[in-house]
Amino acid sequence: MAPVTMVEAIREALDEEMQRDPSVVLIGEDIGVYGGAFKATEGLLAKYGWERVIDTPISETAIIGAAVGMSYQGLRPVAEMQFIDFIACCFNQMVNFVAKSHYRWGGPVPMVVRGPCGGGVHGGPFHSQNPEMWFVHTPGLKVVYPSTAYDAKGLLKSAIRDNNPVLCLEHKFLYRRVKEELPAEDYTVPIGKLAVRRPGRDLTIATYGAMTLHSLDAAEELAKEGIEAEVLDLRTLMPLDRQGIIDSVRKTNKLLVVHEDVRSGGIAGEIAATVNEQAFEDLDGPILRVTSLDTPVPFSPPLEERFLPQVADITRAARELARY
């Protein structure tokens, strides 16, 4: 098995699920003939035909609406947002139609919405956003955010098989930058379970997405200074693996949350509240956070670099916490 990139892993997941289950159909802009802006659906139209790989007009609300309708027919549509930023254009369908359907009247919505998110590629304010908290804060949705090719494939498969709407956030910076060999056989990654990427005893770094790589780099550096950071890759943001976080904090007694999302209202807050409620006694220091600035994502490289959390920001905060 040759190593595959994250975007290839995603394509494999779609392909294998479409092969396994004819209920799986794809819908989105430029996903058919073109194979998607990031080529995540390349080759799938040729294989599965026009009925299963549906190129739509530029209409995010219609894409999500139609996906809901198809899911009411027992299908399992996977909708692509060309960039996840455009999910704002179908926000109402997402939070009011999709998220509330099962609770309100027992209409299950087994659909997936996926798309590229995140910064670091000079995409500017409208092609770099991290929209996770709008949806983590909307009961009825599940949100996953992988950092490896293995997880991207396994979580997407779980999402497709889930009977609930799942938002799969794919960090575009990682699409072609992470690469690994994947198992030949079918596998899934469970929704709602974090992964300990590096064990440690001095503090816990809870993170996800592209920041997992930064955090691991930081942990490497910290280790040189004798600080052993445990790095948690959350993988799923809703349902959040609260127990997994608590378990780690019980061990290290210190918690640093790192996210690429903007600071105010980011998931660090939710984690801080949870740890306060469930493991306050175990804390030997304040819960700290390293995040992006509270601004839109700026375009120019020096501005974007300042905007995004850097490895040095993580090591600095971790050192402070370790010394506490």
Partner: protein, 416 residues
């Protein structure tokens, strides 16, 4: 008795059925007002008085396998589709026996399995893409269904309406959209939504047919909608039907509708759909007093029984509030296939992923010509060239996918 000739004939039983549903809608409406005044209705109460012909006459064109999604003034459609007054009563009274068990109210409920009804949400327009999706899904599964929903004059101004109609047109989805032009969107007259005489003209933006029909004439409503449904079922794509009617009450019970010119109510009162239909049934000798009395007695009996059932149903238990956010094994999700699955799997499904653009999008005007005010009307020519979702190869036989040559579709020879 000889029934009047119609393009889509209705039997005597069907004609009386229409009356039954219209009258049941009206009586249910009035009972709800009574219950509202007794403080037994929770939240707002929305009336469809004056619009019974529109809701009943449209929904009655559908078959059991077809799907609807009702808006707030389409209780008549829910009744036609097999829900009972008790369902609506318990929804408004927020009881545990209601289809949503009190989680949601009004006509916000549905039934995916048997009655094929999708629950609306309050946000206007959102059902249009959703019912387009149900139609697309049904075609993919080989079900030969048509889907229908309603939208108010005001609702046609929403972005969701546009995106949904546009996708339906692009996909040639078997979908019928009924625009219930009841002259008002809450306090706003239709002319304030858009300077159009006929909202059916909205269809012209999508190259699909738009019909105008007298929404207070149940026979006319049925005939026009039936034609639309047949068109859609034949795979000719979506149709928009504008039903002209009048909202005879305020937006909801709290609204005295003081903004409606009183003469306007008078004008439309003389065109009450129930009175008009009663007259028609009598003039055409479809019924006699006995038949009428029987139906009315039946309605009275049924309503009485259902109100008792509804009143006897307790409010839900508080703990229910915590349940059901996610589907955790409570539903088995299965697609209902009516075509061979092999057709949609490789190698059978495989196609050449290329576009053809026969005329290259050229303007057929002479160079430098003066601008023509307004482009040509969407005619059959435009429709014939319209793009179809299914290539000849992958289109399931008889699945409702259009057979016409597509403007931009898979080309026989491979490129890229």
């Amino acid at each position: 008795m000889t029934l009047p000739e119609m393009k889509y004939p209705l039997s005597r039983d069907q004609l009386l059925d229409l009356y039954y549903f219209m009258k049941l809608t009206r009586e249910l409406d009035e009972q709800l007002v009574r219950l509202f005044r007794q403080n037994k209705v929770v939240g707002g109460l929305y009336s469809s008085i004056g619009q019974e012909a529109s809701a009943v006459g449209t929904a009655y064109t559908l078959e059991k396998r077809d799907w609807i999604a009702p808006m707030i003034r389409n209780v008549g459609g829910l009744l036609v589709k097999g829900f009972r007054p008790r369902d609506i009563l318990m929804q408004y009274m927020a009881r545990s026996g209601a289809p949503t068990g009190g989680k949601d109210g009004t006509s916000h409920f549905g039934d995916l399995q048997d009655r094929h009804v999708v629950s609306p949400i309050s946000m206007l327009g959102d059902l249009i893409p959703v019912m387009t999706g149900v139609a697309m899904g049904g075609r993919y599964l080989g079900q030969k269904i048509v889907t229908m929903t309603w939208i108010g004059d005001g609702g046609t101004s929403t972005g969701a309406f546009h995106e949904g109609m546009n996708l339906a047109a692009a996909q040639h989805a078997p979908f019928v959209c009924v625009v219930e032009n009841n002259q008002w969107a809450y306090s706003t007259p239709v002319a304030r939504q858009v300077p159009l005489k006929n909202l059916a003209d909205r269809a012209r933006a999508y190259g699909i047919p738009g019909y105008v029909v007298d929404g207070n004439d149940v026979i006319a409503v049925y005939q026009a909608t039936k034609e639309a449904v047949e068109l859609a079922r034949r795979g000719e794509g979506p149709v928009l039907v504008e039903s002209k009617t009048m909202r005879m009450k305020g937006h909801a019970q709290h609204d005295p509708a003081g903004y409606v010119p009183p003469e306007m109510f008078e004008y439309w009162k003389a065109r009450d759909p129930l009175a008009l239909y009663e007259k028609w049934l009598t003039e055409n000798k479809v019924w006699d007093k006995k038949a009428k009395d029987e139906i009315e007695a039946r309605i009275e009996r049924e309503l009485k029984e259902d109100i008792e059932i509804a009143e006897a149903s307790p409010l839900p238990n508080a703990e229910e509030a915590e349940r059901g956010v996610y589907c955790e094994g409570c539903h088995t999700i299965e697609a209902h296939w009516e075509r061979p699955i092999a057709e949609v799997q490789p190698p059978k499904a495989s196609v050449q992923p290329v576009w053809t653009v026969p005329d290259f999008g050229a303007l057929n005007n002479a160079r430098g010509s003066a601008p023509a005010a307004a482009a040509s009307a969407p005619d059959d020519g435009a429709r014939a060239e319209a793009h179809s979702n299914s290539s000849a190869k992958s289109a399931p036989a008889g699945s409702g996918a259009p057979k016409r040559p597509a403007r931009a579709e898979a080309r026989p020879k491979g490129r890229r």
